[in-house]
């Protein structure tokens, strides 16, 4: 096992995302987590300040604890079940979302738009796509049924005015359109990027910047976004990742499988 020896004053984009996202969790929450940054962030929160936070995997696991260095390749392997409280069939674990037992759904994103809709299905026109992506998995179900946190890299090609295809619904066309389309619950709550923490206006449901990471300017965030961003009246500056946070991440993922 190789240990990372780099100083804690430097960190990777994924480490920054995991740290910032972990701080959005609350002790006692039930969190539906995807593989990669979401799982690392939820586990980090569990370790540091939220011991009563429960992780659910769409593969069917309730309350697993991750063995450092043995991160699962998907939510469906036996590694996901270690020391868990229960394993359920896939359909039943997803139905917990529909029934309302889940506080937060947490996943990564390939492409997002100003209303927080996510695309993981097609780049380009769905009929003649430039790239066929892997699709929704549980993404459509999770984002249709609960409050979402999305963690992703802040790039102009990923932050677009309108996604090519709505795989996982955010606020759809803004305003009340989500509820009117038959999705009265949940919605996109926070977007965590390597530049900022973003939320959505209560009325228009347009994306807005709530906080900037240390050393990041408003211009930098706008320049990396494909539409005009709103800014909260008082934009806060986040505290940089601490040594104890980075140490946990590096213990969990010593081979930097998800944090490179």
């Amino acid at each position: 096992m190789t240990k990372h020896t780099k100083p804690t004053s430097t960190f990777t984009t994924s480490e920054l995302l995991a740290v910032m996202a972990s701080r959005l969790m609350t002790n006692g929450q039930v969190v539906f987590a995807g593989i990669g940054v979401p799982l690392l962030a939820a586990t980090l929160a569990q370790r540091l300040f939220a011991p009563q936070l429960t992780i659910l995997f769409e593969g069917g696991t309730i309350g697993p604890f991750i063995v450092p260095g043995e991160l699962p390749p998907s939510t469906n392997e036996q590694r996901c079940t270690r020391r868990s409280n229960m394993v359920l069939p896939i359909t039943d674990v997803l139905l917990l979302l529909q029934r309302g037992y889940v506080d937060i759904g947490f996943m990564g994103g390939a492409q997002i738009d100003r209303f927080g809709n996510l695309n993981s299905s097609f780049i380009g026109d769905a009929e003649n796509p430039k790239i066929r992506l892997p699709g929704t998995g549980g993404g459509n179900d999770i984002s249709s049924l609960t409050n979402m946190i999305v963690a992703m890299k802040h790039e102009k090609r990923r932050f677009v005015a309108d996604v090519d295809f709505v795989t996982s619904p955010g606020w759809l066309k803004g305003g009340r359109s989500r509820a009117e389309s038959g999705l009265p619950q949940g919605g996109l709550w926070r977007v965590v990027t390597d530049l900022a923490i973003l939320g959505f206006d209560d009325e228009t449901r347009q994306m807005k910047v709530l906080g900037l990471h240390h050393g990041v300017t408003r211009e930098q965030v706008q320049d990396n976004t494909g539409f005009e961003l709103k800014f909260e009246d008082k934009v806060e500056t986040t505290a940089p990742p601490r040594a104890d946070e980075l140490a946990v991440l590096r213990e969990l993922d010593p081979h930097a499988l998800y944090t490179a």
Binding site: E77, Q78, I90, Q98, P129, R132, P134, G137, L145, R178
Partner: protein, 323 residues
């Protein structure tokens, strides 16, 4: 097939079940014999999820038997989906997510076949696929649900879902059509010769799929006695009368995992990812020649995976029982 209605009529469903031999009989056979139970054009449901408990020995046998025009459904589709497309066994996969796995990136083989319209990846949400099997298992024509609304995933499947106002609350609700596969392929840790199956770890959608299907082919790590099954009937998940074939296939998910016995063969999966991404046509063909068409038998296939790989995957697999 196009001619059949999306959802079978109740009388057709009942009639098909009535004509199946549901007696307590032994149904042990070889992979090759079981492959004869699958017909060209059949809708084949695949158990497991991503790289877990995939019934790869049976899939291997179907690809070797040169089946054609199978419609495949599965919760999440990994390398086996690539190989269905590349071998010409299927041109239509119904699933929620289709790629080898997050750590290996987007499948070039899936991309090649879908972007060039050589094959179809019909995308439904994960829960919707599960509820479709469940409706099939319950003998009802549809299941009400609350996802796939508002998104393009729902629009993309078009007429296959219906949206209605709930007659009790007036809320918008989705109706998902029942899915009753012609055949379900399911791999388990153990079952008896009659097909009473016990499976450990994550169940995925396998139980609903077994109940929904019109035929079930079980592959199993080992066949145990009926006495042993009867000692722990609470662990039996699939009853014998839904099962039509039992095939003993040790390491029947390799190079995918089987809970408690072996983890994914990561080095082999890395190799597959490399071969298939270098050339999405020649890569999988070369892989199929080497690992699917070439080997004389399933043990010969396992020998090609290598003793080191089998032992390493087993060591990791059994470690789930360590404290």
């Amino acid at each position: 097939m196009g001619i059949e209605p999306l959802v079978k009529s109740y009388s057709a469903l009942r009639h098909e079940t009535l004509t199946r031999d549901r007696g307590l009989r032994e149904k042990v056979m070889t992979l090759e014999e079981a492959a004869k139970l699958v017909h060209d054009g059949d809708h084949v449901g695949i158990g497991g999820c991503t790289v877990s408990r995939t019934p790869l020995a049976m899939i291997w046998a179907l690809i070797r038997a040169r089946k054609r025009e199978l419609v495949i459904s599965r919760s999440i589709t990994s390398t086996e989906g690539d190989l269905f497309f590349a071998s010409g066994t299927s041109k239509h996969v119904i699933t929620s997510w289709f790629t080898q796995g997050i750590v290996w990136g987007v499948s070039k083989v899936m991309r090649h076949h879908t972007e060039n319209k050589l094959a179809r990846f019909e995308e439904w949400s994960h829960m919707s696929i599960g509820l479709r099997y469940r409706a099939g298992a319950m003998g009802i024509p549809f299941m009400p649900s609350r996802t796939m609304l508002g998104s393009d995933v729902g629009k993309q499947v078009g007429d296959e879902i219906k949206v209605m106002d709930c007659p009790f609350t007036g809320e918008k609700i989705v109706l998902l059509p029942a899915l009753n596969p012609d055949v379900a392929l399911i791999h388990v840790q153990r079952c008896d010769a009659f097909g009473n199956a016990q499976l450990d770890g994550l169940q995925f959608m396998d139980i609903d799929m077994a109940m929904a299907a019109n035929k079930v082919i079980l592959t199993t790590e080992r066949i145990v006695s009926n006495d042993q099954i009867r000692r722990t009937p609470d662990r039996t998940r699939i009853p014998f009368f839904t099962v039509d074939a039992v095939v003993e296939a040790p390491f029947g998910c390799a190079p995918h995992e089987c809970y408690g016995l072996y983890e994914p063969f990561f080095t082999h999966l890395d190799h597959y990812a490399q071969v298939s991404s270098q050339d999405p046509v020649k890569g999988p063909q070369q892989y199929l020649e080497e690992f699917y068409y070439g080997p004389k038998s399933w043990p010969d296939y396992l020998a090609k995976l290598g003793m080191d790989a089998l032992l390493d995957a087993s060591r990791r697999g059994r470690s789930v029982h360590n404290d």
